[in-house]
Symmetry: none
Subunit: 194 residues, 2 copies
DNA sequence: CTGATAATAGTACCAAGTGCTAATATCGGA
DNA sequence: TCCGATATTAGCACTTGGTACTATTATCAG
């Protein structure tokens, strides 16, 4: 018992969290205990085996037909998407997102969530933001769960533009609004961008 | 030979592509061939086994997840500042800032640089973005050095608002412009924000 | 000192493979 | 029609990273 069971289990949780790809064997070495001990720990903490962990990580990102952009490029967690129509993502405000002084989320995270959602909702190989107008309606605090909803409002086929409106709420209260004018590369315009 | 080897292999590629979670066994059933045939096919097409496929999908998404975190501190290096007047920062576009597909910098990093500069230039305890209008003039690429310059254009003492204009350039060419309306908490208004 | 808790050891088993050899099909051309 | 090439199937040993279970040994605390 290096530092008691509890302490080890806390470390185990932490270690696996930021490296789900580690095997029991490696964990046993890390904590200088036997593999069986690691397994008992996982059992108690109901942490699934390596393969299941990996599968979980993988399927989270693979879920549904997010073809336009790999889900990975989205800030926040995508919960719903209908390409070229709408998309919803969730973003939990953690300590790394706030100003330490006042616990208020820094604006660029809200923008990042909204902007990446605007990119993701577009059903095309390439989507870039051209212009946008933002309104930070209400400060967002540590621990808040921000739900961003994006709607495609208009498409201009000739100019390859798509207009997306994003509204972010915390407990049904609007905290952020943004209009995004997006450039999209459809088949015809591929390769035009230098 | 239901439809020739080639045809089956094409289908195999397709099937695995949009469901990397399928086992050889399931594939064998699907094409009504033996498991061995599926394995030979994978071998010829150099498609890795199920576990490796899943691992690949997982690590791709995991890397991006990790990558999106350090957004908090990497917002450029301040090189000059005159409080309530102007500020300049430099931001080098690295691989973690771009879309892998086209090497173009993700918009929120440009916004983050500009926005944090707008916050920094304000000589007050608290500064928050209220509204902003952005224009992504030209795509920024991997390796580019973005120089953002912020100017305070106007102050509205009564409403506690400060207006900041930010222009970002790469090799003297404008790539981004933004107008920011900032809320500031001066002595008089401290604690008003709930 | 004795129980309880914790840790270790060992066994059988599983899924989803790889790598290999060997036996059959099946087809297409001389 | 028969022959050889290609394609397919079968079988076996072995691998990883586990589960599930039992048995033994430490270790600590009252």
């Amino acid at each position: 018992m290096k530092r008691s069971k509890k302490e080890r289990q806390q470390q185990l949780i932490h270690t696996i969290k930021n490296n789900p790809f580690i095997t029991d064997d490696a964990l046993a070495n890390l904590f200088t205990v036997s593999v069986q001990t690691v397994r008992l720990d996982r059992l108690e903490l109901s942490i699934p085996e390596l393969r299941e962990r990996i599968k979980h990580v993988a399927s989270k990102s693979f879920e549904d037909e997010v073809r336009s952009l790999p889900l990975s490029d989205v800030i926040g967690e995508m919960v719903d998407i209908e390409l070229d129509e709408r998309a919803i993502s969730i973003f939990d405000v953690k300590s790394e997102h706030i100003f330490q002084r006042n616990q208020i989320a820094r604006g660029h995270h809200l923008f990042a969530q909204a902007n990446s959602l605007a990119v993701a909702v577009i059903n095309d190989e390439l989507a870039l933001t051209v212009k946008s107008t933002l309104s930070f309606v209400k400060p967002v605090k540590l621990g808040d769960r921000v739900i961003a909803k994006a709607f495609v409002t208009r498409k201009d086929q000739e100019k390859n533009r798509t207009f997306v409106e994003v509204t972010s709420t915390v407990e049904n209260e609007i905290v952020f609004e943004g209009q995004f004018e997006m450039f999209r590369a459809n088949e015809a315009s591929k390769g035009e961008l230098k």
